[in-house]
Symmetry: C2
Subunit: 135 residues, 2 copies
DNA sequence: TTTATTAGACTACACGCGTAATCCAAAAAT
DNA sequence: ATTTTTGGATTACGCGTGTAGTCTAATAAA
């Protein structure tokens, strides 16, 4: 199984652009970040280069310019990062985090209902039944 | 209001030791980390020094040695880090994260009950009632 | 009392990251 | 055809971090 490359915070912004649409040229990415990140074009190009090195993205050559696209999925990323975050701050225990959020954050009643529904589903399945897919 | 100093991952391990009990001497911290972190004593001392510089910890002098103790609370920390993590990965939206966790993680039925109870409380309060404390 | 140990202070050093600038070859403009 | 622009490659540089080692003064040991 592939090791996910570590993506820095600035690089993450670039990834978000490419996850939202791809492939894109460097200039398109630069433009998409404009006004929001206040980075010089060269800075963005550096980030793109580093993402290439890390094999987080790749490109197809089209004439003189490249079209970049992600090699890793945002989902995989969020998943992995969340795991390590959890482990670091909450010792891997999910419940304290959930409690924390449920308590502190403002949620609309719709959201609350949805969360309840999800919890109900889980109750029916039974707590110890492992229903995760293979992998 | 004080700015929380940024604590690196390695430094975090030291903080955990001091949060769990304090004050402690450098040697006590070193010993506490032994076997678990595989760091040379000097490494731990460096981390302690950096935490001092950042004013994340302080010490009382007792003869030749110092007794270190935290200046920031773990709770404040976890809170702040969680906020920025959330913002970075989930665009600040709590619900997607909650859904993600409720779905993916295995929770005992006790835990599920507790979470439901919390959600019920929130429902009763009403979704738009702002019940956070002043600040 | 001379020597060895030790606690803390200071120094080291490579790598990742944020933030670009410079170099070079090819394409576009003149 | 020569000059300018531009995309990508290479280089830069200071700061934080992981991971220690050296220096120094004081204490403990011999």
């Amino acid at each position: 199984m592939k090791e996910l490359p570590k993506i820095s915070e600035a690089e993450w912004e670039v990834m978000k652009i490419l996850w939202s649409r791809s492939p894109q040229t460097a200039n398109e990415v630069i433009e998409a970040l404009e006004g929001q990140m206040d980075w010089k074009p060269k800075t963005v190009r550096t980030l793109i280069s580093r993402l290439l090195q890390k094999e987080a993205i790749a490109f197809q050559e089209t004439g003189r310019t490249y079209l970049y696209y992600p090699l890793v999925s945002q989902d995989d990323y969020v998943q992995t990062e969340t795991q390590s975050f959890l482990k670091r701050l909450y010792g891997g225990a999910v419940k304290p985090l959930l409690v924390h959020f449920l308590r502190e954050q403002k949620l609309s009643s719709d959201e609350i209902s949805e969360l309840k529904r999800i919890l109900d589903e889980k109750t029916e399945e039974g707590p110890d039944r492992d229903r995760r897919k293979d992998r």
